[in-house]
Symmetry: C2
Subunit: 189 residues, 2 copies
């Protein structure tokens, strides 16, 4: 149950076994069905999740009430609403599983205590933040610098699992086009 998260942390920092087990002991398993809402607009996020298996869609409701997908997360990834988690403000986004998903979850209080007590965990968190920020920068650049077909090609080159694992509707929302447009773009690939 803890092997994936253990490897992930070891990949980021050199932690002695005692510290590592101390950190892991604060994570509780959470299993959900598909379409489970982890967090919805207006909620305050009190939990940070590590995905053991499954998939989470993070989305936003546009002015027509349609879902706009900000990001998609899979096993081996860390996920929380950073704004709401760090400042305890209401979330503007929805977090929903799109497959049966199993998490390791840690509450906010435990999380920040660990950060203060275990320097290697702080260091791991810093690296996760840097990588998440970097990923979001790439995503902004894909929207400012590419048209829809190039964004689709970019996903095919860099995140191919998204195209094979998820429905066209969700892929379209992630690429930032209507499902009809995605259907037509596929013919041009």
């Amino acid at each position: 149950m803890y092997s994936l998260i253990e490897n992930d942390i070891k990949k980021l920092v050199n932690a002695d076994e005692e510290s590592l087990q101390f950190v892991l002991s604060h994570f509780k398993e959470l299993k959900t069905k598909r379409n489970h809402l982890l967090l919805k607009e207006g909620d305050v996020c009190r939990t940070c999740y590590f995905i053991n298996k499954g998939c989470v869609q993070v989305y936003y409701l546009d002015k027509n009430g349609d879902e706009a997908t900000r990001d998609l997360y899979f096993e081996g990834q860390w996920i929380t609403n950073i704004d709401s988690f760090s400042k305890q403000e209401p979330s503007k986004e929805f977090y929903r599983t799109i497959e049966p998903t199993s998490f390791l979850a840690i509450g906010r209080d435990n999380f920040f205590q660990l950060i203060g007590k275990v320097p290697q965990f702080m260091e791991a968190y810093r690296q996760i933040l840097e990588a998440s920020y970097s990923h979001s920068i790439n995503r902004i650049n894909s929207f400012t610098a590419m048209d829809a077909l190039d964004r689709l090609k970019w996903v095919r080159e860099n995140q191919a699992h998204i195209l094979t694992r998820l429905s066209s509707k969700i892929i379209a929302s992630y690429i930032g086009v209507s499902p009809e447009t995605l259907s037509r773009l596929k013919n041009k690939l």
Copy 2:
């Protein structure tokens, strides 16, 4: 010269005067003309900057060679290419001043030594990362969930200084439309 950065750090963390001055002593002043390239595609970023006065455009070259603006930074903001700075990989982005600009700059080695030595500086960095990540998430959501006119209105509500201080060409690139389209959108505001 250090008053803005001093207030910024104090706003983020409680630091004793000695630690604060120790941290500040590692920052060197850098003044540039407008259109100075701080970093270009392919460069490895070895410096983190705090803007004392002025403005920096971070952009990307699209497949036509046009500039796509990922973000704009002003006095009081921290700026570095996080990917290149943290992993010492070549930058994919350009960083250019668009006004005469004065910075406080710190080299990568000093930066990471300070992070290790001064817990309050680590804590400040963590908060800056969280805020930067949060800002980039808002920007992704503006592209996935809004059309061009709504993005322009969003900037007017939330970053009005961008509209009053910068050229239409740069605003257009930030909004993600051609200058001609921006010119027409202004008539609909």
